[in-house]
Amino acid sequence: MPKLNIKDLEEIRKKVRKAALLREGISNAKITVHMGTCGIAAGARPIMNALIKIVEESGRDDVIVTTSGCAGLCSREPMATVELKGETPVKYGDLTEDKIKKIFSEHVLKGKIVEEYALVIGSEREP
């Protein structure tokens, strides 16, 4: 490793910033992929992998990808929930890699809900 100048140091910081923000839980968008048994069976894993790649390629370092358990809607798996900071979560169902790509570029990047794939807007409440 050659000695750094200030610019090199800033480059390194940029590169590792995402990991740092993630550890602090700082984000502007959170995408949750539902990984219940049926979710996994319906192909949630490839969706997850594709999503991680899309986020990385976008260069956005303030998007968190996480998993949760069963969402209670086995017939519509794979599913994911997108939650922009300060906005209501939106659940998407019957996902494919193309669909998640579109959801990312429209909803996450531009803030436009992709209504054609959306199942629920807002979270179900406990009675």
Binding site: M1, P2, K3, L4, N5, I6, L9, I12, R13, K15, V16, R17, K18, A19, A20, L22, R23, E24, G25, I26, S27, K30, T32, V33, H34, M35, G36, T37, I40, M48, N49, I52, V55, E56, I64, V65, T66, T67, S68, G69
Partner: protein, 596 residues
């Protein structure tokens, strides 16, 4: 490759001693087995502060806190949470006396009342990866001072922040730097004091283990301000993990050109060397420490001259504590006003304390100056275990004083603690409850300090053994009228006549317990009783004949064969045979054994 989840496994000294490295290895294996190794990263961090709950894993970004993990837990945890996304309740933290688990770090009282500056990277970085530090604003303050601040600017900023030494004395750091900078003599040296000789204290170890670069960056900034090109970290040999992480950090900083010649291409030179300490408590005293680095017998010497004027090899030397150094980059980056906005009038910023003794949540906490003892002990520490009564807290290391329960609303800062006969010291807090005998406690600390006296001053050497002898006598039931007054007289005399801080403070535990718990001393001396039932010579065990069911358990367990009685009839203890081991008291299920 980007990971969606980071598992922050504590690999501080305490957690490592309960198997953290194994937990980390198992997590990595299980994650690989579930084919999650491209999504989930396992990171080893320094001490996260909640050492009693180790091994600890924090899941980020979800902020979920898993504790007391055992190797058997790991496969289930990985499958449930990291594959299926269902956090595992039974591995979470349940506050003492409650039934419901608290999932996230930010909801756990132990963490939520803390305010992190010196420990801001704790649990968030791998201490052995310089890039992790850089990603959290690391070396940004260095860039700032190298590109836009003169040495006067830096000193002014540190002065305005109100930062004071965290190693015990509380001397204003900016002023100290200024004196050293203006002292005649070249070269100048700076030292980081990581000797940490207080028994039970480990805040400095923890900072070095979890964030060594913060200390290095602080020293770089100090060196630039003072005009030093060589620094030393004096660290005790008993801290192998901290030494290792510091070595790795120095190496990485050298590789990046953050230590060495022409740092960041800005024409500034500075390098660091580690010196391992000889282990004696007095080696932490600055003049003694300097002697130790010079390779001569580590005895304190008369001040003045202060090290800032004539220190290492007679050259101007600035010495600061680990925690003091770790605060510096944040002050430079966020500004003096930000730092000065935290704390009280004369004590700014935060202080790291190690919370031990009779308290539910033992561990390491960083709190704003001015926080009350009550908040520390109850909100963060979770109170005294077993429903016992809180009696006081001994603050400041072996020569600190005891603050009694009646002063629980005391705001914690340098001045307030000194006012009540205690001191900030390096930040050790030992909580004591009704079962602690204050005479015995004072005796315990005196035993330590008199043993550690270097012997140079008669007052400290002879005075401490005289005090210890009297205290021992009192706890053995041989106290005499006038002992208390003599202890007081002796205490003040030692404080006045001793040369270094050790002698000047070692009477504190005695004087403060006499001040606040005089009746306990009197009970020992006049009534030959130990109210806390600790001093063996002053207690006796008796069986209450009305309560004893004659179950014979105590008689069977008594190691001295001191208990006799027929089955189903009240038993009796032969006081001549009894060795006061307390076993009968513990084993009796009917609460029939009484201590007096």
């Amino acid at each position: 490759m980007a990971y969606r989840t980071h598992l922050m496994v504590c690999t501080g000294t305490a957690c490592v001693s309960c198997g953290a490295f194994n937990i980390k290895k198992l997590l990595e294996e299980e994650i690989k087995k579930q084919k999650l190794d491209k999504e989930i990263l396992v990171v080893g961090t320094g001490c996260q502060g909640f050492c009693a709950q180790g091994p600890i894993v924090v899941v980020q970004p979800d902020d979920i806190f898993y504790q007391l993990l055992s190797p058997e837990d790991i496969p289930f945890l990985v499958e449930e949470h990291f594959l299926k996304g269902r956090p595992v309740k039974k591995m979470m933290y349940t506050p003492p006396g409650e039934k419901i688990q608290i999932p996230t770090v930010s909801e756990i009282g132990f963490f939520s009342k803390q305010r992190l500056i010196a420990l801001r990277n704790k649990g968030l970085i791998d201490a052995e990866k310089i890039d992790d530090y850089i990603g959290r604003d690391g070396y940004n303050a260095l860039i700032k001072v190298l590109t836009s601040m003169s040495s006067e600017d830096i000193i002014k900023e540190i002065k305005n922040s109100g930062l004071r030494g965290r190693g015990g004395g509380g001397f204003p750091t900016g002023l100290k730097w200024d004196i050293c900078k203006n002292s005649k003599g070249e070269p100048k040296y700076i030292i980081c004091n990581a000797d940490e000789g207080d028994p039970g204290a480990y805040m400095d170890r923890s900072i070095v283990e979890s964030d060594p670069h913060a200390v290095i960056e602080g020293m770089l900034i100090g060196a630039k301000a003072i005009g030093a090109q060589q620094g030393f970290v004096y660290i005790r040999t008993e801290y192998p993990l901290a030494i290792h992480r510091l070595e790795v950090a120095i190496e990485q900083a050298q590789e990046y050109g953050l230590l060495g010649k022409d740092i960041l291409g800005k024409g500034f030179d500075f390098d660091l060397e580690i010196k391992q300490g000889a282990g004696a408590f007095v080696c932490g005293e600055e003049t003694s420490l300097i002697h130790s680095i010079e390779g001569i017998s580590p005895e304190p010497s008369q001040r003045p001259p202060f090290p800032a004027e004539s220190g290492l090899w007679g050259k101007p030397t600035n010495i600061n504590n680990v925690e003091t150094w770790a605060n510096v980059p944040r002050i430079i980056l966020r500004g003096a006003d930000w730092f000065a906005g935290i704390g009280t009038e004369k004590s700014k910023g935060t202080k790291v304390f190690s919370l031990v003794g009779k308290i539910n949540n033992t561990g390491l906490v960083e709190v704003p100056m001015g926080i009350t003892l009550k908040e520390i002990i109850y909100d963060i520490g979770g109170g005294v275990p077993g429903g016992k009564k809180f009696k006081g807290v001994q603050i400041g290391g072996p020569s600190g004083g005891v603050v009694p329960a009646s002063l629980i609303d005391l705001p914690v800062d340098y001045e307030k603690l000194t006012e009540v006969g205690s001191m900030m010291g390096s930040g050790g807090m030992v909580v004591v409850d009704e079962d602690t005998c204050m005479v015995d406690l004072a005796r315990y600390f005196l035993e330590f300090t008199s043993d550690e006296s270097c012997g140079k001053c008669a007052s400290c050497r002879e005075g401490s053994s005289a005090m210890l002898e009297i205290l021992t006598r009192i706890t053995e039931g041989k106290g005499k009228e006038g002992d208390i007054e003599f202890l007081e007289e002796l205490g003040y005399a030692i404080k006045d006549a001793s040369q270094c801080g050790l002698g000047q403070t070692l009477p504190n535990p005695v004087l403060s317990t006499i001040d606040n718990f005089r009746d306990e001393y009197e009970a020992h001396i006049k009534n030959k009783k130990c109210p806390a039932h600790v001093c063996k010579a002053l207690i006796s065990f008796h069986i209450d004949p009305d309560k004893c069911t004659g179950c014979t358990v105590c008689a069977i367990k008594c190691p001295a064969d001191a208990i006799s009685g027929n089955r189903k009839e009240p038993h009796i203890i032969d006081q001549d045979k009894c060795i006061k081991c307390g076993i009968c008291y513990t084993v009796c299920k009917f609460d029939s054994v009484k201590v007096e």
